[in-house]
């Protein structure tokens, strides 16, 4: 497919992009396709997964990667974050002494204590994302051109993305507050960061996604990115004839076809209603067509990222 709106192309080339939406809509597919596209365009791109091990690796058809990001294909780096590893990395970065880390942090009592501190996992994972987004190589240049976050679904995404500001407002002066302030600034950066929301053409995912979008802007203070409408059925020339299914029902031998036709008809009607709802909200709606048959996620990622290569027609924003 082609025809990405111009504004969408710009947003899809921002430095720091978050992908979220209702559970089950295909966030990982969109995040992975976006990252693959940017990598194919020659940009060093890091895809970070939040506490959902293996989903990204699976759709990219690679091994799971924890800890340090690793190159999985040309220009594309992958890493799956989880609270325990993120805390260890962060602690080691500050303490610099593995022995001290082991002594204090791996003490079973301290471990228990830390496990029960609310949001500590979120803060450290966000800290890791911030670290990579601002990481520079020996020459002082940014290590990654783009960092894409495959974020959790609705409620947890909101918690995850607002945790930095909450910590910054809550804790007294000190290293934690300073770090949290930097993370919040990255998230709220209106020029270089954005949050994309993924939908499917059904009532609940659209309602929830729109509510989420409002909160991302109003409560988190994030620039909204693109609305990706996933799992859209392709139109067929014969769709206008589907009203015939009513007549077909009277013929026993045609019933299976009437049933299939009826299902398609209601799906299409529902789809159109939901597409309209979304188009009314934003000009940046990108339709992601459902690719029929037994295609694997890896196939879909590679197809989408080829389709989206037209991004290059714009040399990024500004």
């Amino acid at each position: 497919m082609s025809g990405l709106p111009i504004e969408a192309k710009k947003l899809m080339q921002r430095r720091f992009q978050v992908v979220t939406g209702k559970g089950g809509v295909g966030r990982t597919l969109i995040a992975a396709s976006l990252a693959s596209t940017l990598a194919k365009l020659g940009k060093k791109t890091l895809l970070l997964e939040v506490n959902a091990p293996n989903h990204c690796a699976r759709v990219l058809g690679t091994e799971a990667i924890m800890g340090d990001p690793q190159l999985v294909s040309e220009n594309l780096y992958l890493c799956s974050m989880n609270p325990e590893d993120a805390l260890r990395e962060y602690a080691l970065m500050i303490l610099k002494f593995p022995a001290l880390y082991r002594l204090v942090f791996e003490n079973p009592l301290v471990k228990y204590f830390l496990r029960s501190v609310p949001s500590l996992g979120e803060v450290t994972m966000l800290g890791k994302a911030w670290f990579h987004a601002t990481e520079v190589n020996d020459g002082g240049q940014a290590k990654y051109d783009h960092v894409i976050i495959d974020a959790p679904a609705t409620g947890h995404a909101l918690t995850f993305l607002s945790v930095a500001r909450v910590v910054e407002k809550t804790v007294p002066r000190g290293p934690m507050r300073t770090e949290a302030g930097k993370m919040a600034a990255l998230i709220e950066d209106q020029k270089n960061s954005c949050a994309h929301v993924v939908f499917t053409p059904e009532e609940m995912p659209v309602t929830e996604g729109l509510e989420l979008s409002k909160k991302l802007q109003r409560d988190v203070g994030m620039k909204l990115g693109v609305y990706f409408m996933n799992k859209v059925r392709l139109a067929d020339n014969a769709d206008h004839e589907l009203s015939l299914v009513e007549k077909m029902k009277g013929f026993e031998e045609l019933r299976p076809y009437a049933a299939a036709g009826f299902a398609r008809k209601s799906n299409l009607e529902n789809q159109n209603t939901q597409l309209k709802r979304l188009f009314l909200q934003s000009e940046n709606v990108v339709k992601v067509l459902e690719l029929r048959s037994v295609e694997t996620d890896a196939h879909r990622v590679s197809k989408l990222s080829s389709d989206w290569l037209e991004l290059s027609a714009f040399g990024g924003e500004q």
Partner: protein, 390 residues
């Protein structure tokens, strides 16, 4: 495959039903449909969702639901032409801030300290926007519902957030107990501004602990944290008791976990992981509910027609050959999809032998109201699986 009688029996003997599973598979709808079914059997049911996304209200035809329980009135059913249940069903959504405040208000022994705690900055963040907090509160709420004496409930149906954090929910009681019975917590509690030393944690000195942790947080953070934790003093024994009680509720044989998923490769992998996790904790799994299964249009006695034959018959009704090939493609696609799903479900049944699997077909349009919930309820609890597609 679908065993309506067995599922009925499972729901019938349950006092608590906890729906777990990956996102986007219709957990909330299934929870509500099960609640309605139990109410139809004359039971007094409450459905509780701790999903931070607000979906339950929509589906139940309520304008909104919050921390307070709301009855689904008979008129909500009558309005859409459904028979209202014999029993009573109410719904609520966990509002974390209100729930925390209520726990503090109900259980804090000292009014002055209680008010100071309610105004503490740390407490306010904890109770509004920090992750993990909702799992603690869900646990408190479950305790409250199961043990309440006024208007006692026959059944509590709990809808949980998607996979990763539903495990958090299960861990909440032990985490709470762990945190309270922890020397490190006790140390933070007793240190505060007086910086009194209380000897050593196992293996490390408290000053090493405070210096190390303080490196990231700043020492003031630890002090403020300890002020908050001290604000909770007098409540610890209660927390501990309730956490223990919830562990007991979760492990009770009449607390049934239903693993809700969809008959697709990804969601099934998550569901399996979940079921293994529940089993390793020795919790009772009632069934797998696999939602949105594709209906095979060529289910007996219907069979495929030859392409030409189909085309001819449609032409007689005024349809083009393009329509014939579209319908043929659609029907065959659904057939192969259904076959693939069937294979996956068989595989699941083999790896969890003895566990019942219920399939709910996908409905055209989607489920977002009482009528839709009624369809799910019928598919889950009545033995025939007729096509709803025509």
């Amino acid at each position: 495959m679908i065993n309506a009688a067995a599922l009925q029996e499972t729901v019938h003997r349950a006092k608590v039903i906890i729906c777990v599973g990956p996102g986007g598979v219709g957990k909330t709808s299934c929870s509500a449909a099960i609640g309605i079914h139990a109410a139809r059997q004359g039971r007094r049911v409450a459905v509780l969702t701790i999903d931070p996304a607000r979906r339950l209200a929509n589906a139940l035809g309520l304008p909104s639901i919050g921390n307070e329980e709301k009855d689904i009135p008979r008129s909500a059913f009558e309005k859409v032409g459904l028979e209202p249940p014999k029993g009573r069903i109410s719904a609520m959504m966990l509002d974390i801030k209100t729930a925390w405040d209520r726990v503090v208000q109900n259980y804090h022994p000292n009014p002055t300290e209680r008010d100071r705690l309610l105004n503490n900055k740390f407490y306010r963040s904890l109770s509004t926007s920090l992750a993990g907090s909702q799992e603690y509160m869900a646990m408190e709420k479950l305790y409250e519902l199961v043990h309440r004496e006024q208007d006692p409930l026959d059944l509590v149906v709990l809808d949980t957030p998607p996979a990763a954090s539903a495990v958090d929910f299960l861990d909440a009681p032990s985490k709470m107990l762990g945190a309270l019975d922890n020397d490190a917590t006790r140390w933070v509690l007793s240190s505060s501004s007086s910086s009194r030393r209380i000897g050593r944690l196992v293996g490390i000195s408290t000053s090493l602990f405070s210096r190390t942790i303080g490196k990231f947080t700043g020492t003031e953070v630890l002090e403020e944290l300890s002020v908050m934790l001290q604000g909770f003093s007098g409540m610890y024994e209660g927390f501990r008791e309730r956490a223990r009680a919830v562990s007991e509720i979760l492990g009770d044989p009449r607390t049934i976990f239903l693993v809700v998923s969809a008959p697709k490769a990804g969601p099934l992998r998550d569901a399996e992981q979940f079921a293994r996790n529940l089993r390793s904790r020795q919790l009772t799994i009632g069934a797998f509910l696999l939602n949105r299964a594709t209906y095979d249009p060529f289910t007996n006695p219907h069979s495929e027609l030859d392409s030409d034959e189909l085309s001819e018959k449609l032409q007689a009704l005024g349809g083009s050959s393009a329509l014939a090939s579209l319908l043929e493609r659609e029907a065959k696609f659904r057939q192969s999809q259904a076959a693939r799903e069937n294979e996956l479900v068989q595989k699941l049944s083999r790896s969890f032998s003895g566990l019942q699997t219920s399939l709910v077909p996908e409905f055209p349009g989607d489920i977002h109201d009482l009528i839709g919930l009624n369809l799910i309820e019928n598919k889950l609890f009545s033995s025939s699986w007729n096509s709803n597609l025509s």
